[in-house]
Amino acid sequence: MPFIPHTQDDVAAMLAAIGASSIDDLFEEIPAALRTKSLAGIPEALSEMEVGRLMQSRARQDGRPLNFIGAGAYEHHIPAAVWAIVTRGEFYSAYTPYQAEASQGTLQLLYEYQTMMASLTGMQVSNASLYDGASALAEACLMAVRAHRKSKSARILVPATLNPTYLQVSRAITEGQNLAFDVLPYEPKLGTTQQSGLTAYTGQDITAVVIQQPNFFGQLEDVDAITDWAHANNALVIAVVNPLSLAIYKPPGEWGAKGVDIVVGDGQPLGVPLSSGGPYFGFMTTRMEYVRQMPGRIIGRTVDLDGKQGFTLTLQAREQHIRRSKATSNICTNQGLLVTAATIHMSLLGAVGLEQVAASCQHQTRKLVEALTKVRGVTLAFNGPRFHEAVLQLDRKVDDVLEQLAARGIVGGFDLSRRYPELGNALLVCATEMRSDEDIERYATTLAEVMK
């Protein structure tokens, strides 16, 4: 019996202690008419070896194509030590640290994580994670509505250059709470938010303005100007950032004159593999004054009975298990194991290492753009500074090109034509530090063949 340790003698002794004649007796309180007759749709058990064979064959079927997609999930080198430690049973198979004395490892790590994220984003406090970047933005919008008591509109301005899925998710999650999302247009030549789109709202009651940096197109927004405009108009500012990019770019806590109010994003670039979309983790940092409006778990340092340092879950009066229907969020389980990965990853890379990774991504992307725009029928959509993604325009349908590339072992980018029809046949490409010059050369050569 897989994973069940009972011998026949155990079962007999245990039933005798219970005073039941069979295991079936233990289910006597379930009405007989409801009892499951069979589970015909469930296959028979496989041994570990057989499952291994099956999974290996499924994995082989997917292969390992050369990847040039980013669009919110990025392929980076992860030090071997990261997942070797993350998958230690003591981290992997522990629960949420409710019993603080028996969870000091997880709790101290989370405190270190909070410190790193606060510093990386230039903010004062961090929570211990949310599900992913998209749902973290939804939570940030709800938090802004709670935190900004003077604003009655619950109106959030979001740039069209925000990852479109993040907006979809924010809409879905806040749907029952009457938030209004207004989309700000972008400069067609630059791919960054139009200042005039913003000034159209001057004088209106706006709860918060969202800024994504670098934006979904990979371009860099004028974050100082947008932050200052928002604060001048009594709106809070929510930054959506790639945490890796903050190794080289100004942290949101320093945007504009006062810095932003809430920072969120996806922590995936910090030691989490692409793994088909998850599990990743969402992060959130903010000003100390808003800490009681934050969703999710927060770890604090305190002392024990002997005055010795220890770590514990704190400010739990915000959370669902205490506050129930009045909690700041319904979140309970978060993404602790991925935060474990990120904390070890950041420790191993350090500020200098992250800076070099970020610089290397930018460098390789510049080479990628140079190589691909030499292919006939390929042009660059936007001017201006960018990080590690770029929008290209093709002279033919993007999905056909992508299918042909895939058949040649290249995942060539993210097709923007459905989300941004005004851009025509637009393709979002990305090169991280993982893409060598040879990889880039191979993509350019293959694209030239496909677009002949």
Binding site: N67, A100, A102, C332
Partner: protein, 490 residues
């Protein structure tokens, strides 16, 4: 303050794990967008980081190291195979937005997982995208709302929740814009049907139920509950927190539930990871099929593909940037394939056997069951009301002392309506001798409580820290480390 080193204490300016750095190139950043001061990340060697985090890990209790009978959390063995096969390089390297043509192997696993979950729950459709139980609850209540709205039934905004429910249930209802109506439980642990009849009406959107309930007993009149709610025009939501208790024995769909979420990190044994990741897949019956969260895996002939808003125009939408916690789903898939049909039924059988055995032994040892006349499900509640009154030793004191005996504490003070409670869930993967050792520890602590109560109240003594000052933690907030330089002159 005597203290264990933080990673920052190992940091020295100029030190690095340079094998992890790519070749040095300069970033090209316009000066107004540049970072001027480096973030305060530690500067440590690779060995220092590895040793620090390995040592931290050793401060934890975990399933792999300790019996962990945390009620409502289903802390059973997480097979290593699930981890290994989910971390095959092809799965780890796959970009979520890659074309379906290079993801057929992965999608086949997801499609089959959907099918297996439908079969064990008796539902008609499954969406794997919710990233934890609470997000599954959100999806469920949002679908109930969408269903009523699509019928023009706009007044249905009340969600009924029993008083014993998890805190996530009322929090979710609020998040979905609903109001919460709480109904009481009877002394035997079942729902008060008279109160339910009073509570339902034209404003009822639905009811959220866990069955077996958080009181550790099966709601015997579930068919009657379903009839009352359905006749009033409401829908039934099944909180899958306790699905382990009934896997293969009775299906939520057959009990009359319209929508459910499953905690794959409980019932299907994916790791809890010190607080996550989870996975809160949702299942629906026929009438809620159009509202499922996207994406869902569909099959055209022998090809798999993602279904999105073009296939499900009435969907409640997307809940994650991609498709949920894919790696968790792969682990659940591997686990289910290793259990197979018969193994799935054994989950409920042996978790019930272990729970009822542990309950019988503890009762025999003189402990008070909260619901003595009832069968335990996969978990049960002991109340230490008597010990608290007579000996001034509380459930928390017992819990902390258990840590010294090498057992993770059961869930304490939940559900809130049972005073001084321990909610104990042994799970099916524990051997009889470990259950026996737990009983012996409880008996020993009871004896200590009678002879030397301060000893129990001062526990734990053998862990990295003793009881922590939670009041200080909340009043003197210390949420991030600051170096002496950052703190400035004191």
């Amino acid at each position: 303050m005597q203290s264990r080193a933080l990673i920052f204490d190992h940091s020295r300016t100029g030190r690095s794990a340079s094998a992890q750095h790519p070749h040095d190139v300069k970033a090209d950043v316009p000066s107004h967008l540049q970072r001027k001061r480096r973030p305060a990340l530690p500067e440590v060697s690779e060995l220092q980081a590895v040793r620090h985090y390995t040592r931290l890990s050793q401060l934890n209790f975990s399933i792999d190291t300790h019996f962990y009978p945390l009620g409502s959390c289903t802390m059973k063995y997480n097979p290593r195979a699930s981890n290994q096969f989910a971390m095959l390089p092809e799965f780890l390297g796959r970009h979520p937005l890659g074309p379906a043509s290079v993801g057929q192997g992965f999608l086949a696993c997801m499609y089959e997982l959907q099918e297996m979950l439908k079969e064990v729950t008796g539902m008609k459709g499954v969406s794997l995208t919710p990233m934890a139980g609470a997000q599954g609850e959100f999806a469920g209540v949002a679908m109930i709302r969408a269903y009523h709205r699509a019928r023009g039934d706009l007044a249905r905004t009340e969600i009924i929740v029993p008083d014993a429910a998890h805190g996530t249930n009322p929090a979710t209802a609020t998040m979905c814009g609903c109001t919460v109506v709480e109904i009481p439980s009877l002394p035997d642990g079942d729902i008060d049907l008279e109160a339910l009849k009073q509570a339902v009406g034209p404003k009822t959107a639905g009811i959220m139920l866990t069955n077996p309930s958080t009181l550790g007993v099966f709601e015997r009149r579930i068919q009657e509950v379903a009839r009352i709610v359905h006749e009033a025009g409401g829908l039934l939501y099944y909180d899958g927190a306790n699905l382990n208790a009934i896997l293969g024995k009775v299906r939520p769909g057959d009990m009359g539930f319209d929508v459910i979420h499953m905690n794959l990190h409980k019932t299907f044994s994916t790791p809890h990871g010190g607080g996550g990741p989870g996975s809160g897949a949702v299942g629906v019956n026929q009438r809620l099929l159009p509202f499922m969260p996207i994406p869902v895996v569909g099959r055209d002939g022998d090809r798999y593909r993602w279904l999105d808003e073009r296939d499900l125009p009435q969907t409640i939408g997307r809940l994650s940037a991609f498709m949920g916690n894919a790696g968790v789903l792969l682990r659940a898939y591997v686990y289910m394939r290793m259990l197979g049909r018969a193994g799935m039924q054994r989950v409920a059988e042996f978790s019930a056997l272990n729970a009822n055995y542990l309950l019988a032994r503890l009762k025999q040892a003189g402990f008070d069951a909260a619901y003595p006349g009832r069968r335990a499900s996969h978990e049960f509640i002991i109340t230490l009301k008597r010990q608290a009154r007579d000996l001034n030793v509380t459930a928390m004191d017992f819990a902390k002392r258990l840590l010294d005996y090498g057992f993770h504490a059961p869930t304490t003070y939940f559900p809130l309506l049972v005073p001084e409670c321990l909610l104990i869930e042994p799970t099916e993967t524990e051997a009889k001798e470990d259950l026996d050792a737990f009983v012996e520890a409880m008996i020993a602590i009871q004896r200590e409580a009678e002879q030397d109560a301060p000893k129990v109240k001062g526990a734990p003594y053998t862990l990295p820290v003793r009881r922590l000052d939670d009041v200080r933690a909340a009043k003197q907030l210390d949420l991030t480390y600051q170096s002496a330089a950052e703190r400035g002159p004191s």
